[in-house]
């Protein structure tokens, strides 16, 4: 009996020792591996967000900032960008001009599809470039020439039998379906029997992208431009799904913006360098237009197909176009009230 007890005690002691041994061995293994891993883990210094400060990371939504906080945010960014890009970078925060509501008109008869506007936009607005992660805010579609008139819509625009659902809407007006090619590669432009349809953010008066943003980082400014506070964008891509014009782009990777090609004159809500995981789009070159300049695409267009103006001013180019030209709207059925119009002479 005594022997059995002694044996049990011995077994118990052995068990404790084994458990202790395994526990210690486990701890030492984890510690060693951890140390090795920490040594192996090298910081990725190429990331643009490496130098983001605590204050920038936790700053308020731009719209909720006081003037002092806005100035601090701008100063922080200027310091960081200047450091990262090796040149003096300015970050503007010019607000919307009173009495101005921007509108844009594009003459599809004149457009020759040269894509100079696309290139100018990329250069002006610090978009990511390169074959791997190219972002272009303007997309030019190539389409076959066709006819589209108001008479067609009025005479042939409704199905014969009212009340029968055709394509989901019995009262759907007839129009011209866009069957375009995005990445066309002709020898020269313009091509015979083709016309070109540049597309970009329509700066909707009732923007669906703004409605769906869960953090309210995208909003419409008083001058009608829909802007994004990149620091508050969480990259959920809800706005991309909501935009009926497919005008928003997402940074899947760190944007590729060579230092020497970076445009140092930027705006907080516009063309300042973006980071991985945020959405971006056309802002009517807010860094230019709020200072009374044309957008880069308007300046670059060799045929004068693009017009920018103040919709509140009856004498502006845009109002004259609306008053005198054949004007088209895309997806009028959605009632987003786009402020980007297509027209013909």
């Amino acid at each position: 009996m005594q022997k059995e007890q002694q044996q049990a005690d011995k077994d118990s002691t052995d068990g404790t020792q084994r458990r202790d041994f395994l526990r210690k061995a486990g701890s030492y293994t984890v510690t060693s591996l951890s140390g090795a891993a920490m040594l192996l883990a090298k910081p990725n210094t190429a990331k643009a967000t490496t130098k983001v400060t605590w204050e920038e990371h936790f700053q308020k939504n731009y719209r909720l900032m006081t003037d002092e906080e806005k100035q601090e945010a701008v100063d922080r960014l200027e310091t960081r960008y200047s450091d990262e890009f090796g040149k003096k970078v300015t970050v503007g925060d010019t607000p919307a001009i009173d009495g101005v509501l921007f509108g844009y008109a594009l003459n599809i008869q004149k457009c020759i599809g040269c894509r100079r506007c696309v290139k100018a936009c990329v250069a002006e607005n610090n978009q990511s470039r390169g074959n791997e992660q190219q972002i272009e805010w303007i997309r030019v579609l190539r389409m076959e020439k066709g006819n589209f008139t108001e008479e067609d819509r009025n005479e042939n625009g409704y199905p014969e039998d009212y009340g029968i659902q055709v394509g989901g809407n019995a009262y759907k007006p007839v129009g011209v379906v866009l069957e375009g090619q995005h990445y066309y590669q002709p020898d020269k432009v313009p091509e015979k029997d083709a016309f070109y349809f540049p597309m970009q953010c329509m700066q909707c008066e009732k923007p669906p992208c703004v409605k769906v943003c869960p953090v309210r980082t995208t909003y419409r400014d008083p001058d009608g431009i829909v802007v994004i506070d990149y620091n508050w964008c969480i990259g959920c891509r809800m706005c991309i799904g909501a935009c009926p014009y497919w005008a928003r782009r997402f940074n899947w990777g760190e944007p590729n913006l060579p230092k020497e090609e970076m445009n140092p004159i930027t705006h907080y809500l516009g063309n300042r360098p973006r980071m991985k995981g945020v959405v971006e789009k056309c802002t009517f070159c807010v860094q230019r237009t709020r200072k009374g300049r044309w957008t880069a695409c308007v300046e670059a267009c060799p045929v004068g197909a693009r017009k920018l103006g103040n919709l509140l001013d009856p004498d502006s180019d845009i109002r004259k176009v609306l008053a005198t030209k054949k004007v088209f709207r895309l997806r009028a059925d959605l009632n987003t009230y786009p402020k980007f119009f297509y027209y013909m002479d």
């Binding site: 510690t31 891993a37 883990a41 509501l101 589209f148 895309l330």
Partner: protein, 111 residues
């Protein structure tokens, strides 16, 4: 006389003092042992947590880079498919003037 009395008193008190000293020493050892093990565990825990993060970072960094071209292209192609289903229609004069008026009214309301 006084010295003798003091010695006697100390002799009488010594067992009690010894017991108290022993108890105090034991307590100190327990406290020291507890504090030491706490620091030991805290140090191991810190290294383990930091190391795990480092390990995770090392593993993630060693993974092959995602095909960004595919992702960017996928966005563009999906957009293109969407665009192909669109229609554009000519606006009548009435529609144009109504729309401009809507913009003006909207702006006036906001300002």
């Amino acid at each position: 006389m006084f010295k003798r009395l003091k010695t006697t008193f100390q002799q009488w008190l010594s067992p009690v003092q010894t017991a108290a000293d022993e108890l105090q020493n034991q307590n100190n050892e327990v406290v020291n042992a507890t504090r030491r093990s706490f620091f030991k565990r805290a140090a191991i825990g810190t290294v383990a947590v930091g190391g795990t993060a480092g390990l995770a970072s090392a593993v993630v960094d060693s993974l092959p880079e995602p095909d960004l071209t595919h992702k960017y292209r996928k966005d563009a192609v999906a957009g293109e498919q969407d665009l192909q289903e669109w229609e554009y229609v000519e606006m009548s004069d009435q529609e144009k003037s109504d729309m401009v008026q809507t913009f003006i009214d909207s702006y006036s309301r906001q300002s």
